[in-house]
Protein backbone atom coordinates (compact mmCIF):
# COMPACT_ATOMS: atom_id res chain seq x y z
CA UNK A 1 0.00 0.00 0.00
CA UNK A 2 1.38 3.37 -0.99
CA UNK A 3 1.79 5.76 1.89
CA UNK A 4 -1.24 7.84 2.60
CA UNK A 5 -0.76 11.55 2.62
CA UNK A 6 -2.91 13.88 4.65
CA UNK A 7 -3.54 17.06 2.71
CA UNK A 8 -5.97 19.88 2.08
CA UNK A 9 -8.36 19.60 -0.84
CA UNK A 10 -6.79 22.64 -2.46
CA UNK A 11 -3.34 21.13 -2.16
CA UNK A 12 -4.57 17.91 -3.73
CA UNK A 13 -5.64 19.94 -6.75
CA UNK A 14 -2.17 21.43 -7.05
CA UNK A 15 -0.46 18.06 -6.59
CA UNK A 16 -2.64 16.45 -9.20
CA UNK A 17 -1.95 19.26 -11.66
CA UNK A 18 1.77 18.71 -11.32
CA UNK A 19 1.36 14.96 -11.67
CA UNK A 20 -0.77 15.54 -14.77
CA UNK A 21 2.13 17.37 -16.35
CA UNK A 22 0.85 20.89 -15.85
CA UNK A 23 3.82 23.22 -15.52
CA UNK A 24 2.13 26.58 -16.05
CA UNK A 25 -0.06 28.22 -13.51
CA UNK A 26 -1.55 31.71 -13.73
CA UNK A 27 -3.68 33.06 -10.93
CA UNK A 28 -4.62 35.82 -8.58
CA UNK A 29 -5.10 35.42 -4.82
CA UNK A 30 -8.58 34.97 -3.43
CA UNK A 31 -9.85 33.11 -0.41
CA UNK A 32 -10.66 30.22 -0.10
CA UNK A 33 -8.44 28.96 -2.92
CA UNK A 34 -5.13 30.72 -2.29
CA UNK A 35 -3.55 27.45 -1.13
CA UNK A 36 -3.44 26.43 -4.77
CA UNK A 37 -1.27 29.32 -6.03
CA UNK A 38 0.74 29.23 -2.82
CA UNK A 39 1.54 25.55 -3.30
CA UNK A 40 2.39 25.96 -6.95
CA UNK A 41 4.51 29.08 -6.43
CA UNK A 42 6.68 26.83 -4.29
CA UNK A 43 6.62 23.66 -6.38
CA UNK A 44 6.58 24.73 -10.01
CA UNK A 45 9.83 26.69 -10.29
CA UNK A 46 12.02 23.77 -9.16
CA UNK A 47 10.33 21.67 -11.86
CA UNK A 48 11.20 24.21 -14.53
CA UNK A 49 7.62 25.40 -14.68
CA UNK A 50 6.26 28.90 -14.46
CA UNK A 51 4.11 30.35 -11.76
CA UNK A 52 2.76 33.80 -12.50
CA UNK A 53 0.76 35.81 -10.08
CA UNK A 54 -1.15 37.74 -12.68
CA UNK A 55 -2.23 41.36 -12.30
CA UNK A 56 -5.83 40.15 -12.12
CA UNK A 57 -8.07 37.20 -12.84
CA UNK A 58 -8.52 38.58 -16.33
CA UNK A 59 -4.79 38.60 -16.81
CA UNK A 60 -4.65 35.04 -15.50
CA UNK A 61 -7.32 33.55 -17.76
CA UNK A 62 -5.74 35.18 -20.78
CA UNK A 63 -2.29 33.93 -19.87
CA UNK A 64 -3.91 30.50 -19.67
CA UNK A 65 -5.38 31.10 -23.10
CA UNK A 66 -1.95 32.01 -24.45
CA UNK A 67 -0.20 29.07 -22.85
CA UNK A 68 -2.88 26.55 -23.84
CA UNK A 69 -2.71 27.86 -27.38
CA UNK A 70 0.91 26.77 -27.60
CA UNK A 71 -0.13 23.25 -26.68
CA UNK A 72 1.09 22.95 -23.10
CA UNK A 73 -0.98 21.91 -20.11
CA UNK A 74 -1.81 24.93 -18.02
CA UNK A 75 -4.31 26.04 -15.42
CA UNK A 76 -5.80 28.81 -13.34
CA UNK A 77 -7.90 28.85 -10.19
CA UNK A 78 -10.08 31.32 -8.38
CA UNK A 79 -13.36 31.78 -6.55
CA UNK A 80 -16.62 33.71 -6.99
CA UNK A 81 -15.74 37.26 -8.05
CA UNK A 82 -12.59 36.09 -9.80
CA UNK A 83 -14.44 33.43 -11.76
CA UNK A 84 -16.94 36.06 -12.89
CA UNK A 85 -14.09 38.15 -14.22
CA UNK A 86 -12.80 35.17 -16.18
CA UNK A 87 -16.04 34.67 -18.07
CA UNK A 88 -15.02 36.56 -21.18
CA UNK A 89 -11.76 34.63 -21.35
CA UNK A 90 -13.52 31.31 -20.80
CA UNK A 91 -15.91 32.15 -23.61
CA UNK A 92 -12.94 32.92 -25.87
CA UNK A 93 -11.25 29.65 -24.92
CA UNK A 94 -14.46 27.75 -25.63
CA UNK A 95 -14.84 29.61 -28.91
CA UNK A 96 -11.23 28.82 -29.82
CA UNK A 97 -11.58 25.12 -28.88
CA UNK A 98 -8.77 25.46 -26.38
CA UNK A 99 -8.23 23.04 -23.54
CA UNK A 100 -7.26 24.37 -20.13
CA UNK A 101 -8.22 23.73 -16.54
CA UNK A 102 -10.02 26.26 -14.35
CA UNK A 103 -10.60 25.57 -10.68
CA UNK A 104 -13.46 27.31 -8.85
CA UNK A 105 -13.46 26.89 -5.10
CA UNK A 106 -16.87 28.39 -4.52
CA UNK A 107 -17.51 30.96 -1.82
CA UNK A 108 -20.61 32.79 -0.74
CA UNK A 109 -21.97 35.49 -3.02
CA UNK A 110 -23.33 37.43 -4.81
CA UNK A 111 -20.88 40.33 -4.79
CA UNK A 112 -18.23 40.24 -2.15
CA UNK A 113 -20.43 37.94 -0.10
CA UNK A 114 -18.23 35.95 2.22
CA UNK A 115 -15.86 33.05 2.16
CA UNK A 116 -18.17 30.35 3.44
CA UNK A 117 -19.04 27.30 1.46
CA UNK A 118 -21.38 27.73 -1.47
CA UNK A 119 -22.76 25.78 -4.39
CA UNK A 120 -24.41 28.77 -5.96
CA UNK A 121 -22.02 28.99 -8.92
CA UNK A 122 -23.62 25.88 -10.41
CA UNK A 123 -25.50 27.79 -13.08
CA UNK A 124 -22.51 29.94 -13.91
CA UNK A 125 -20.35 26.86 -14.37
CA UNK A 126 -22.78 24.61 -16.21
CA UNK A 127 -24.70 27.13 -18.33
CA UNK A 128 -21.79 29.23 -19.54
CA UNK A 129 -21.56 32.39 -17.47
CA UNK A 130 -19.92 33.99 -20.46
CA UNK A 131 -21.58 35.05 -23.67
CA UNK A 132 -22.38 33.21 -26.82
CA UNK A 133 -23.79 29.86 -25.81
CA UNK A 134 -21.06 27.36 -25.05
CA UNK A 135 -20.50 24.72 -22.40
CA UNK A 136 -17.47 23.67 -20.45
CA UNK A 137 -16.75 20.39 -18.73
CA UNK A 138 -17.58 20.66 -15.02
CA UNK A 139 -16.34 18.15 -12.46
CA UNK A 140 -17.53 18.19 -8.86
CA UNK A 141 -15.25 16.45 -6.36
CA UNK A 142 -16.64 15.47 -2.98
CA UNK A 143 -13.43 14.44 -1.23
CA UNK A 144 -9.76 15.29 -1.15
CA UNK A 145 -9.04 12.12 -3.09
CA UNK A 146 -11.46 13.25 -5.76
CA UNK A 147 -9.90 16.70 -5.83
CA UNK A 148 -6.80 14.84 -6.93
CA UNK A 149 -8.44 12.36 -9.26
CA UNK A 150 -10.82 14.76 -10.94
CA UNK A 151 -8.19 17.43 -11.48
CA UNK A 152 -6.20 14.85 -13.42
CA UNK A 153 -9.29 13.83 -15.29
CA UNK A 154 -10.01 17.48 -16.08
CA UNK A 155 -6.71 17.78 -17.93
CA UNK A 156 -7.36 14.64 -19.93
CA UNK A 157 -10.95 15.41 -20.85
CA UNK A 158 -10.05 18.96 -21.72
CA UNK A 159 -7.28 17.83 -24.06
CA UNK A 160 -9.37 15.11 -25.65
CA UNK A 161 -12.46 17.19 -26.30
CA UNK A 162 -10.73 20.57 -26.71
CA UNK A 163 -13.14 22.12 -24.22
CA UNK A 164 -12.05 24.02 -21.11
CA UNK A 165 -12.67 21.96 -17.98
CA UNK A 166 -13.61 23.28 -14.58
CA UNK A 167 -13.12 21.65 -11.21
CA UNK A 168 -16.02 23.02 -9.18
CA UNK A 169 -15.72 22.49 -5.46
CA UNK A 170 -17.12 24.27 -2.47
CA UNK A 171 -14.80 25.61 0.20
CA UNK A 172 -15.51 22.68 2.53
CA UNK A 173 -13.88 20.36 0.03
CA UNK A 174 -11.13 22.90 -0.66
CA UNK A 175 -10.26 23.56 2.96
CA UNK A 176 -10.65 20.14 4.51
CA UNK A 177 -7.82 17.68 4.93
CA UNK A 178 -8.20 14.01 4.21
CA UNK A 179 -6.11 11.01 3.52
CA UNK A 180 -4.94 10.97 -0.04
CA UNK A 181 -3.40 8.21 -2.10
CA UNK A 182 -1.42 10.06 -4.69
CA UNK A 183 -1.00 8.04 -7.86
CA UNK A 184 0.59 8.66 -11.22
CA UNK A 185 -1.39 10.04 -14.08
CA UNK A 186 -3.28 7.39 -16.02
CA UNK A 187 -1.78 6.57 -19.41
CA UNK A 188 -4.67 7.91 -21.44
CA UNK A 189 -4.03 8.14 -25.17
CA UNK A 190 -4.31 11.77 -26.04
CA UNK A 191 -4.79 13.27 -29.47
CA UNK A 192 -1.85 15.19 -30.90
CA UNK A 193 -2.14 18.93 -30.51
CA UNK A 194 -1.47 19.62 -34.16
CA UNK A 195 -3.57 22.74 -33.94
CA UNK A 196 -1.21 24.38 -31.46
CA UNK A 197 0.51 27.65 -32.19
CA UNK A 198 4.25 27.13 -31.85
CA UNK A 199 5.71 29.00 -34.77
CA UNK A 200 5.16 27.90 -38.33
CA UNK A 201 8.07 25.69 -39.22
CA UNK A 202 8.75 25.19 -42.91
CA UNK A 203 6.25 22.84 -44.46
CA UNK A 204 3.79 23.11 -41.60
CA UNK A 205 0.40 24.67 -42.08
CA UNK A 206 -0.26 28.04 -40.49
CA UNK A 207 -1.96 27.50 -37.14
CA UNK A 208 -4.39 30.11 -35.92
CA UNK A 209 -6.18 29.98 -32.61
CA UNK A 210 -9.22 32.18 -32.94
CA UNK A 211 -12.91 32.51 -32.24
CA UNK A 212 -13.82 34.93 -35.01
CA UNK A 213 -16.15 33.39 -37.57
CA UNK A 214 -17.41 35.69 -40.27
CA UNK A 215 -18.14 33.56 -43.31
CA UNK A 216 -21.72 32.66 -44.13
CA UNK A 217 -22.75 29.73 -41.96
CA UNK A 218 -19.31 29.31 -40.34
CA UNK A 219 -20.36 30.31 -36.86
CA UNK A 220 -23.51 28.20 -37.03
CA UNK A 221 -21.48 25.21 -38.16
CA UNK A 222 -19.20 25.73 -35.20
CA UNK A 223 -22.19 25.65 -32.86
CA UNK A 224 -23.55 22.42 -34.28
CA UNK A 225 -20.12 20.84 -34.19
CA UNK A 226 -19.78 21.70 -30.53
CA UNK A 227 -23.33 20.58 -29.86
CA UNK A 228 -22.44 17.17 -31.24
CA UNK A 229 -19.30 17.12 -29.13
CA UNK A 230 -21.33 17.91 -26.02
CA UNK A 231 -23.59 15.00 -26.83
CA UNK A 232 -20.62 12.70 -27.24
CA UNK A 233 -19.37 13.90 -23.88
CA UNK A 234 -22.73 13.17 -22.29
CA UNK A 235 -22.73 9.65 -23.63
CA UNK A 236 -19.14 8.77 -22.89
CA UNK A 237 -18.05 10.86 -19.98
CA UNK A 238 -20.98 11.25 -17.62
CA UNK A 239 -19.92 10.12 -14.17
CA UNK A 240 -21.87 9.68 -10.99
CA UNK A 241 -21.96 7.74 -7.75
CA UNK A 242 -24.93 5.72 -6.57
CA UNK A 243 -25.35 4.57 -2.99
CA UNK A 244 -28.11 2.15 -2.12
CA UNK A 245 -30.37 3.30 -4.91
CA UNK A 246 -31.48 -0.23 -5.88
CA UNK A 247 -34.28 -0.53 -3.39
CA UNK A 248 -34.69 3.16 -2.58
CA UNK A 249 -38.11 4.74 -2.57
CA UNK A 250 -36.52 8.13 -1.97
CA UNK A 251 -33.35 9.16 -3.75
CA UNK A 252 -31.41 12.06 -2.39
CA UNK A 253 -29.31 13.87 -4.95
CA UNK A 254 -26.54 16.34 -4.21
CA UNK A 255 -22.97 17.09 -5.25
CA UNK A 256 -19.77 18.08 -3.48
CA UNK A 257 -19.84 18.56 0.27
CA UNK A 258 -23.62 18.43 0.39
CA UNK A 259 -23.48 14.88 -0.92
CA UNK A 260 -21.06 14.03 1.88
CA UNK A 261 -23.38 15.43 4.50
CA UNK A 262 -26.31 13.68 2.87
CA UNK A 263 -24.45 10.38 2.96
CA UNK A 264 -24.33 10.44 6.71
CA UNK A 265 -27.97 11.51 6.85
CA UNK A 266 -28.85 8.57 4.62
CA UNK A 267 -27.00 6.19 6.96
CA UNK A 268 -29.19 7.53 9.72
CA UNK A 269 -32.26 6.96 7.60
CA UNK A 270 -31.19 3.43 6.71
CA UNK A 271 -30.59 2.74 10.37
CA UNK A 272 -34.12 3.92 10.96
CA UNK A 273 -35.27 1.41 8.35
CA UNK A 274 -36.00 3.80 5.54
CA UNK A 275 -35.15 2.86 1.99
CA UNK A 276 -33.21 5.94 0.99
CA UNK A 277 -30.43 6.15 -1.57
CA UNK A 278 -28.02 8.70 -2.91
CA UNK A 279 -27.31 9.76 -6.46
CA UNK A 280 -24.30 12.03 -6.64
CA UNK A 281 -23.41 13.61 -9.97
CA UNK A 282 -19.64 13.74 -10.40
CA UNK A 283 -19.80 15.43 -13.77
CA UNK A 284 -22.13 18.41 -13.64
CA UNK A 285 -21.61 19.03 -17.30
CA UNK A 286 -22.24 16.62 -18.87
CA UNK A 287 -25.05 16.10 -16.39
CA UNK A 288 -25.55 12.36 -15.84
CA UNK A 289 -29.06 12.36 -17.23
CA UNK A 290 -28.87 8.65 -17.95
CA UNK A 291 -28.57 7.87 -14.24
CA UNK A 292 -31.66 9.89 -13.42
CA UNK A 293 -33.58 8.36 -16.26
CA UNK A 294 -32.68 4.89 -15.13
CA UNK A 295 -33.37 5.36 -11.44
CA UNK A 296 -36.57 7.31 -11.94
CA UNK A 297 -37.92 4.29 -13.80
CA UNK A 298 -38.41 2.75 -10.36
CA UNK A 299 -38.08 5.45 -7.78
CA UNK A 300 -40.49 8.35 -8.13
CA UNK A 301 -39.33 10.48 -5.26
CA UNK A 302 -36.22 12.68 -5.49
CA UNK A 303 -34.89 15.17 -3.00
CA UNK A 304 -32.29 17.61 -4.28
CA UNK A 305 -30.10 19.32 -1.73
CA UNK A 306 -27.90 22.31 -2.55
CA UNK A 307 -26.09 25.15 -0.86
CA UNK A 308 -28.21 27.62 -2.82
CA UNK A 309 -31.86 28.42 -3.37
CA UNK A 310 -31.95 25.82 -6.13
CA UNK A 311 -29.93 25.42 -9.30
CA UNK A 312 -28.98 21.80 -10.01
CA UNK A 313 -32.58 20.92 -9.17
CA UNK A 314 -33.50 22.22 -12.63
CA UNK A 315 -31.22 19.65 -14.25
CA UNK A 316 -32.70 16.97 -12.04
CA UNK A 317 -36.22 17.98 -13.08
CA UNK A 318 -35.18 17.98 -16.72
CA UNK A 319 -33.66 14.51 -16.35
CA UNK A 320 -36.08 12.36 -14.35
CA UNK A 321 -39.06 10.51 -15.72
CA UNK A 322 -42.12 12.71 -16.11
CA UNK A 323 -44.02 11.04 -13.33
CA UNK A 324 -41.28 11.45 -10.76
CA UNK A 325 -41.53 14.09 -8.05
CA UNK A 326 -38.53 16.28 -7.39
CA UNK A 327 -38.42 18.28 -4.18
CA UNK A 328 -35.75 20.67 -3.03
CA UNK A 329 -34.02 21.58 0.19
CA UNK A 330 -31.57 24.45 0.10
CA UNK A 331 -29.26 26.18 2.50
CA UNK A 332 -27.95 29.19 0.63
CA UNK A 333 -24.33 30.04 1.31
CA UNK A 334 -23.08 32.10 4.22
CA UNK A 335 -21.61 31.92 7.66
CA UNK A 336 -23.42 29.41 9.82
CA UNK A 337 -25.46 27.97 6.99
CA UNK A 338 -23.90 24.56 6.37
CA UNK A 339 -26.57 21.94 6.97
CA UNK A 340 -25.82 19.13 9.41
CA UNK A 341 -26.48 15.45 8.83
CA UNK A 342 -29.18 15.62 11.50
CA UNK A 343 -30.90 18.44 9.66
CA UNK A 344 -30.83 16.57 6.37
CA UNK A 345 -32.12 13.46 8.10
CA UNK A 346 -35.12 15.52 9.22
CA UNK A 347 -35.69 16.57 5.62
CA UNK A 348 -35.41 13.00 4.46
CA UNK A 349 -37.95 11.87 7.04
CA UNK A 350 -40.37 14.53 5.90
CA UNK A 351 -40.17 13.58 2.22
CA UNK A 352 -40.02 9.88 2.99
CA UNK A 353 -43.31 9.98 4.83
CA UNK A 354 -44.79 11.73 1.83
CA UNK A 355 -43.53 9.09 -0.57
Amino acid sequence: MSEKLFVKGNEAVAMAAIEAGCRYYFGYPITPQSDIPEYLSRELPPLGGEFIQAESEIGAINMLLGASATGVRAMTSSSGPGISLKQEGISYMAGSELPGVIVDIMRAGPGLGGIDASQADYFQATRGGGHGGYRIIVLAPASVQEMYDLTMLAFDLSDIYRIPAMVLADSVIGQMKESLTAHPRPQTVLPAKDWAVRGREAGEPQNVVKSLYLGDGEMEAFHWKMHARYQELAEKESRWEEVQTEDATLVVTAFGSTARIAKTAISMAREAGMKVGLLRPITLFPFPKQAYEAISGNCKNFLTIELSTGQMVEDVRLSVARDAEVSFYGRPPGAGSLPTPEELFEQIKKRYLNS
Partner: protein, 183 residues
Protein backbone atom coordinates in the same frame (compact mmCIF):
# COMPACT_ATOMS: atom_id res chain seq x y z
CA UNK B 1 -16.87 2.57 13.63
CA UNK B 2 -17.19 6.24 12.82
CA UNK B 3 -15.77 8.73 15.32
CA UNK B 4 -16.11 12.44 15.38
CA UNK B 5 -14.66 15.12 17.57
CA UNK B 6 -15.16 18.85 17.60
CA UNK B 7 -12.44 21.13 18.99
CA UNK B 8 -12.95 24.81 19.79
CA UNK B 9 -10.98 27.58 21.47
CA UNK B 10 -9.50 30.93 20.65
CA UNK B 11 -6.77 31.66 18.13
CA UNK B 12 -3.42 30.81 19.66
CA UNK B 13 -4.57 27.83 21.70
CA UNK B 14 -3.46 25.40 19.04
CA UNK B 15 -6.88 24.14 18.07
CA UNK B 16 -5.88 23.32 14.50
CA UNK B 17 -2.70 21.57 15.56
CA UNK B 18 -4.75 19.45 17.95
CA UNK B 19 -7.08 18.53 15.11
CA UNK B 20 -4.16 17.66 12.89
CA UNK B 21 -2.59 15.54 15.60
CA UNK B 22 -5.74 13.52 16.11
CA UNK B 23 -6.03 13.13 12.36
CA UNK B 24 -2.52 11.78 11.96
CA UNK B 25 -3.07 9.45 14.88
CA UNK B 26 -6.19 8.10 13.20
CA UNK B 27 -4.29 7.66 9.95
CA UNK B 28 -1.67 5.79 11.91
CA UNK B 29 -4.46 3.46 12.98
CA UNK B 30 -5.40 2.99 9.34
CA UNK B 31 -8.56 4.99 9.49
CA UNK B 32 -9.94 7.29 6.86
CA UNK B 33 -9.95 10.83 8.18
CA UNK B 34 -11.69 14.11 7.39
CA UNK B 35 -10.41 17.20 9.10
CA UNK B 36 -12.50 20.31 8.55
CA UNK B 37 -11.17 23.61 9.87
CA UNK B 38 -13.27 26.70 10.18
CA UNK B 39 -11.57 29.78 8.78
CA UNK B 40 -12.41 33.44 8.97
CA UNK B 41 -12.17 36.48 6.69
CA UNK B 42 -9.90 38.15 9.10
CA UNK B 43 -6.42 36.82 9.47
CA UNK B 44 -6.14 37.41 13.20
CA UNK B 45 -7.95 36.87 16.43
CA UNK B 46 -11.34 35.44 17.10
CA UNK B 47 -12.44 31.91 17.43
CA UNK B 48 -10.76 28.78 16.12
CA UNK B 49 -12.44 25.46 15.66
CA UNK B 50 -12.27 22.26 13.69
CA UNK B 51 -13.92 18.93 13.29
CA UNK B 52 -12.22 15.59 12.87
CA UNK B 53 -14.10 12.55 11.63
CA UNK B 54 -12.43 9.17 11.29
CA UNK B 55 -13.72 5.76 10.40
CA UNK B 56 -12.69 2.40 9.03
CA UNK B 57 -14.93 2.99 6.04
CA UNK B 58 -16.31 6.12 4.53
CA UNK B 59 -15.97 9.18 6.72
CA UNK B 60 -19.23 10.58 5.37
CA UNK B 61 -20.06 14.09 6.43
CA UNK B 62 -17.12 16.30 7.34
CA UNK B 63 -19.70 18.56 8.95
CA UNK B 64 -20.96 17.34 12.29
CA UNK B 65 -24.08 18.81 13.83
CA UNK B 66 -23.97 16.98 17.16
CA UNK B 67 -20.46 15.77 17.85
CA UNK B 68 -20.02 12.67 19.96
CA UNK B 69 -17.03 14.30 21.61
CA UNK B 70 -16.26 18.00 22.01
CA UNK B 71 -13.02 19.47 23.31
CA UNK B 72 -13.65 22.97 24.57
CA UNK B 73 -10.70 25.18 25.45
CA UNK B 74 -12.31 28.46 26.49
CA UNK B 75 -15.52 29.82 27.98
CA UNK B 76 -16.85 31.40 24.78
CA UNK B 77 -16.62 28.10 22.96
CA UNK B 78 -18.24 26.29 25.85
CA UNK B 79 -21.17 28.69 25.88
CA UNK B 80 -21.61 28.45 22.16
CA UNK B 81 -21.00 24.79 21.42
CA UNK B 82 -21.24 22.53 24.49
CA UNK B 83 -24.98 22.13 24.13
CA UNK B 84 -24.48 20.60 20.70
CA UNK B 85 -22.82 17.48 22.03
CA UNK B 86 -24.83 14.41 21.21
CA UNK B 87 -26.72 12.72 24.07
CA UNK B 88 -24.45 10.01 25.37
CA UNK B 89 -21.43 11.97 24.22
CA UNK B 90 -18.49 13.48 26.05
CA UNK B 91 -17.56 17.11 26.58
CA UNK B 92 -13.94 17.62 27.58
CA UNK B 93 -13.43 21.11 28.97
CA UNK B 94 -10.37 23.12 29.86
CA UNK B 95 -11.43 23.77 33.41
CA UNK B 96 -8.73 26.38 33.92
CA UNK B 97 -10.65 28.77 31.70
CA UNK B 98 -14.12 27.29 31.61
CA UNK B 99 -16.67 27.37 34.35
CA UNK B 100 -18.82 24.42 33.46
CA UNK B 101 -21.57 22.75 35.34
CA UNK B 102 -22.45 19.20 34.34
CA UNK B 103 -26.14 19.72 34.98
CA UNK B 104 -26.26 22.04 31.98
CA UNK B 105 -25.57 19.10 29.71
CA UNK B 106 -27.96 16.29 30.53
CA UNK B 107 -26.92 12.97 29.14
CA UNK B 108 -23.45 14.23 28.34
CA UNK B 109 -20.39 13.23 30.29
CA UNK B 110 -18.50 16.34 31.33
CA UNK B 111 -14.78 15.80 31.72
CA UNK B 112 -13.04 18.72 33.36
CA UNK B 113 -9.29 18.95 32.87
CA UNK B 114 -7.36 22.01 34.08
CA UNK B 115 -5.38 22.14 30.89
CA UNK B 116 -3.63 25.47 31.35
CA UNK B 117 -2.50 24.48 34.79
CA UNK B 118 -1.20 21.14 33.63
CA UNK B 119 0.59 22.75 30.72
CA UNK B 120 2.07 25.39 32.94
CA UNK B 121 3.21 22.74 35.36
CA UNK B 122 4.95 21.02 32.47
CA UNK B 123 6.61 24.29 31.69
CA UNK B 124 4.92 25.50 28.51
CA UNK B 125 1.52 27.11 28.25
CA UNK B 126 1.47 26.34 24.54
CA UNK B 127 0.99 22.65 25.30
CA UNK B 128 -2.65 23.10 26.31
CA UNK B 129 -3.64 21.47 23.04
CA UNK B 130 -1.46 18.42 23.75
CA UNK B 131 -3.03 17.98 27.14
CA UNK B 132 -6.40 18.17 25.44
CA UNK B 133 -5.48 15.52 22.90
CA UNK B 134 -4.26 13.18 25.61
CA UNK B 135 -7.48 13.66 27.51
CA UNK B 136 -9.46 12.92 24.37
CA UNK B 137 -7.59 9.75 23.50
CA UNK B 138 -7.87 8.38 27.01
CA UNK B 139 -11.45 9.37 27.58
CA UNK B 140 -12.95 8.43 24.24
CA UNK B 141 -10.82 5.35 23.79
CA UNK B 142 -10.99 5.89 20.06
CA UNK B 143 -7.27 6.43 19.57
CA UNK B 144 -4.30 4.83 21.29
CA UNK B 145 -1.90 7.15 23.09
CA UNK B 146 0.91 5.59 21.10
CA UNK B 147 -0.74 6.67 17.90
CA UNK B 148 -0.80 10.23 19.14
CA UNK B 149 2.80 10.05 20.08
CA UNK B 150 3.68 8.66 16.70
CA UNK B 151 1.58 11.32 15.00
CA UNK B 152 3.60 14.11 16.56
CA UNK B 153 6.34 13.49 14.00
CA UNK B 154 3.93 14.31 11.22
CA UNK B 155 1.86 16.99 12.82
CA UNK B 156 4.82 19.06 13.94
CA UNK B 157 7.12 20.75 11.48
CA UNK B 158 10.64 19.31 11.42
CA UNK B 159 12.08 22.26 13.32
CA UNK B 160 9.85 21.51 16.30
CA UNK B 161 10.64 17.83 16.55
CA UNK B 162 12.89 18.53 19.49
CA UNK B 163 9.74 19.37 21.42
CA UNK B 164 8.29 15.91 20.90
CA UNK B 165 9.35 14.49 24.26
CA UNK B 166 7.78 17.41 26.09
CA UNK B 167 4.63 17.04 24.06
CA UNK B 168 4.46 13.36 24.82
CA UNK B 169 4.58 14.21 28.47
CA UNK B 170 1.75 16.66 28.05
CA UNK B 171 -0.33 14.12 26.17
CA UNK B 172 0.21 11.59 28.92
CA UNK B 173 -0.55 14.12 31.61
CA UNK B 174 -3.78 15.03 29.85
CA UNK B 175 -4.73 11.38 29.58
CA UNK B 176 -3.98 10.74 33.19
CA UNK B 177 -5.87 13.78 34.35
CA UNK B 178 -8.92 12.87 32.32
CA UNK B 179 -9.05 9.32 33.62
CA UNK B 180 -8.28 10.22 37.18
CA UNK B 181 -10.93 12.86 37.58
CA UNK B 182 -13.67 10.77 36.18
CA UNK B 183 -13.25 7.35 37.65
Amino acid sequence: MRHDVFIAGYGGQGVLLAGNLLSYAAIHENKNVSFFPAYGVEKRGGAAMCTVVFADGDTGSPVVGSPSVAIVLNQLSFDKYAAKVKPGGICIVNSTLVEADGSQLPGVELVAVPMNEIALELGDMRMVNMVACGAYAAKSGSLALESLEDALKKALPERNHRLIPANIKAIRAGAAAAMQRNT
